[in-house]
């Protein structure tokens, strides 16, 4: 088999990433501020995992007239009923908040099914009580914190504290921007989105570690090169890999987005955004932080040797 492989990325690029990183910091600063502002003032569209309530997925015999449905459901005394048409248009997702005196959601479910009448089939139902949702919120926050802490420890052990701090800063950046996006477009924020954010953390770190690994190697090899140049050189060297991997992962995620069904679309959307943000942040946040923190070259060289010998 002899065909000339197609290079998607030119070789020996010499992009001055560290000079560009000033704009990167500026851009990220604005985006993070916007995200935090959105998070504080607009908040997230929490799913029932976090705020409790009942969710029913029903299928009608024909395309559902959403206005009729809304009229029907608004009058049954369950407060604000959220509706969302899914798939072919026969399916609707109905969401109501937890009702006083019906913590178990049974009454809400019955009332809704009765209001809908016999032409609707209940396909799935999900109720989360207040005690559980409070616990989920706590667990989810705890999980994100814990993973960041572990990363800090692992990277200080494998590299140096500057690297660890750079990676964690870029992680915080990714998490903030992910929350910002979810707040901005009002996509439902539920447990699988938290799973997605943790996966983004994993992915973004993966990317950061590949860049750091190269920096560590070049620090040892090119002792005379200036730190900024060296980092630029490292990033350019791994750039083909960075882009190829992100694109391959995006391919898989796009397949999930288009074919994987409605249930995991929130998760997939978060991940797709995460791939962009994660790739960007390892180049424009994690690496420049090394310069700002003044990574010491000699220490880093011995450290690298030590860890290689292990």
């Amino acid at each position: 088999m002899r065909w000339k492989p197609i290079r998607l990325i030119p070789d020996d690029t010499k992009y001055p990433f560290m000079r560009l990183s000033r704009f990167g910091f500026f851009l990220s600063g604005i985006l993070c501020t916007l995200s935090i502002a959105l998070f504080i003032f607009k908040g997230l569209n929490y799913g029932i995992d976090f705020k409790g309530g009942t969710e029913i997925q029903v299928r009608g015999t024909q395309t559902v007239q959403m206005d009729d449905l809304r009229k029907k459901l608004d009058s049954i005394g369950l407060g604000k009923v959220e509706l969302q048409q899914m798939g072919t248009g026969n399916d609707v997702l109905i969401k109501v908040a937890a009702q006083a005196g019906d913590a178990e959601g049974q009454i809400s479910q019955k009332k809704i099914m009765e209001a809908l009448g016999p032409s609707f089939e209940k396909r799935a139902a999900n109720t989360v009580g207040g005690s559980v949702s409070a616990e989920y919120t706590q667990n989810a926050t705890g999980a994100v914190m814990l993973s960041i802490l572990f990363v800090l420890v692992f990277l200080s052990f494998r590299f140096e504290w500057q690297f660890a701090l750079g990676a964690v800063l870029s992680l915080l950046h990714d998490v903030t921007l992910s929350l910002g996006l979810f707040s901005l477009i009002g996509l439902e924020f539920n447990l699988s989105v938290v799973a997605a954010i943790l996966t983004i953390i994993g992915y973004s770190l993966n990317d950061t570690v590949v860049v750091f690994d190269r920096i560590r190697e070049y620090l040892r090899r090119y002792k005379a090169m200036g730190l900024a140049d060296l980092i630029d050189f490292s990033i350019n060297s791994v750039l083909p890999r960075t882009i190829l991997t992100s694109m391959a992962t995006l391919m898989a995620l796009l397949a999930l987005f288009f074919f994987g069904g409605e249930v995991i679309r929130g998760f997939t959307s978060a991940m797709i955004w995460g791939v962009f943000v994660g790739t960007y942040s390892s180049i424009f946040i994690a690496a420049p932080v090394l310069i700002m923190l003044g990574t010491k070259r000699e220490v880093s060289a011995t450290q690298a040797k030590a860890s290689k010998g292990r």
């Binding site: 088999m1 009454i107 005690s131 559980v132 996966t199 993966n206 992962t249 995620l253 397949a255 998760f267």
Partner: protein
Amino acid sequence: MFHYPRWKTLLILGTVFLGILFAAPNAFEPLGIHVLAQKLGLKPMTLGLDLQGGANILMEVDKKDLTEKVQQQLMGDIRATLREQKIGYTNLAKTSDGVSVTLNKPEDAAKVTPELNKLLQPLDSGILSAGVAVNLFSLTQNNGQYVFAIQPKGFEAKMQTSLKQAIRVLENRINGLGTTESAIQQQGANRISIQIPGLQDPDRVKNLLGSTAKLTFQLLCHDQPSTANALPPPDCAAYPRKEDVDATLAAKMKADPTVKELSDTEKKALPQMWVQTAGLSTVDGADLTDAQPGFDSQTNTPEVTFKFNQKGALRFGKLTAENVGKPFAIVLDGVVESDPVINTPILGGSGQISGHFTIEQTNDLAITLRSGALPAKLVIAEEATVGPSLGADSIRAGVYAAIAGLIFVMIFILLPYGFFGIIADFALIINLILLIGVMSLFGFTLTLPGIAGIVLTLGMAVDSNVLIYERIREEWRHGKTALSAIETGFTAALRTVTDANVTTIIAAVILFSMGTGPVRGFAITLGVGIITTLFTAFALTRLIMAYWVRRYKPKEINL
């Protein structure tokens, strides 16, 4: 690196073969040859409830109800103790967090205190400090007034034992339904998770699981209420009758179809019956050994027949023998089911409860009686039901996404790497098969987010091949020979890939421990996927490359 000892080659190929073997049963069912899998003793992946349909219910012990039960029991004990000592008392009542009672003569306190101290219920404090006893109550006395207060730590221990007991009871009930493969287990400190696959009528199961099923046989009191709001005399309790409860409930349901039971206040407003609560006049359902649904031989209405154990039979025999001609009440969860007159002493230790039942109700009542009473009411903390049709749709969507993802990624990797891309694609397919094989072998549950994890793994698995190839290419372009470039490529990439994947494993482990069902499914596939990826990249791909290098001795690298 180009020379592989035979055992190493065999080990790698053997692993791949085993992976294919264990993964194979998953393809058998769509092909219609799943009998073959059974013959080989192999199992396909376990599907999560979101894929096969079913109910996932999280229940917790109702704290308020447990508190009340504990208070009621203590009041009974206090009453019995004081009667035994022949000491007069007043104001035996529940307080907000316990029970209080006042002696008629404060000077009796010296005699009573040691006896009442026996009622504090020492409990094993459980997980935190096993073997250390904590009291459920604390007792303070002031001038003949005793106050029992529930201790938070003791209550926690009580919760623990109640939870364990509830799990046993629920197991019996679920098994009584004849559903197979349902799983009941404790989740966290105070919850019970119940998973029932392929459920058709979730409401029935929820009722069955939630009903306390406390059954007692109690003699009627001498006096019966003359006015609506009359207070029962001491040693008597007031319960409404089943007929009245049913009639009121039916009327209410006509007005509002969502009503499923009457509240306690509504029940209290109904005409009451007074039944004796003193120890000797009652027999407890806990002494039942069996209960079966059946039909009354004369009226042909559904009924439940029951049998007592020896202790219960003796007690029941004595009670009925001493009270021939008097009525007694069969009380189930605070409602008088029926109040037959004792015609003859019932010495055989069996009897029946009849009237007011449908066939399904007698079935469920028999199951709940057999399995015993719950220590307290259980409430549903979380519930997720997925119908089988939605599950099937999810599987289809998942499979399409996986196939599409696989094709996208495979084509994508062929473009820049050509011949090497074919090796990567081969490794990718083996990776997928191994992942499925490991999942099947260890009986991990596949959920819809789990499928997402698999598809994502496909994308990220390519990363290790990309890292290796890019490195080889770099080394080659910097003037190394083909052989040395390949060698350096593998060794340099291995370190990077390990470092990078440890971070993803950290995320997977945390996801798993954060663990609720679907998210856990994702964490499992993600974690397993990393391990299979490391294997295919650094054992399999490397073996293929080594073979290729030895066979064709390439002088240049077409990357």
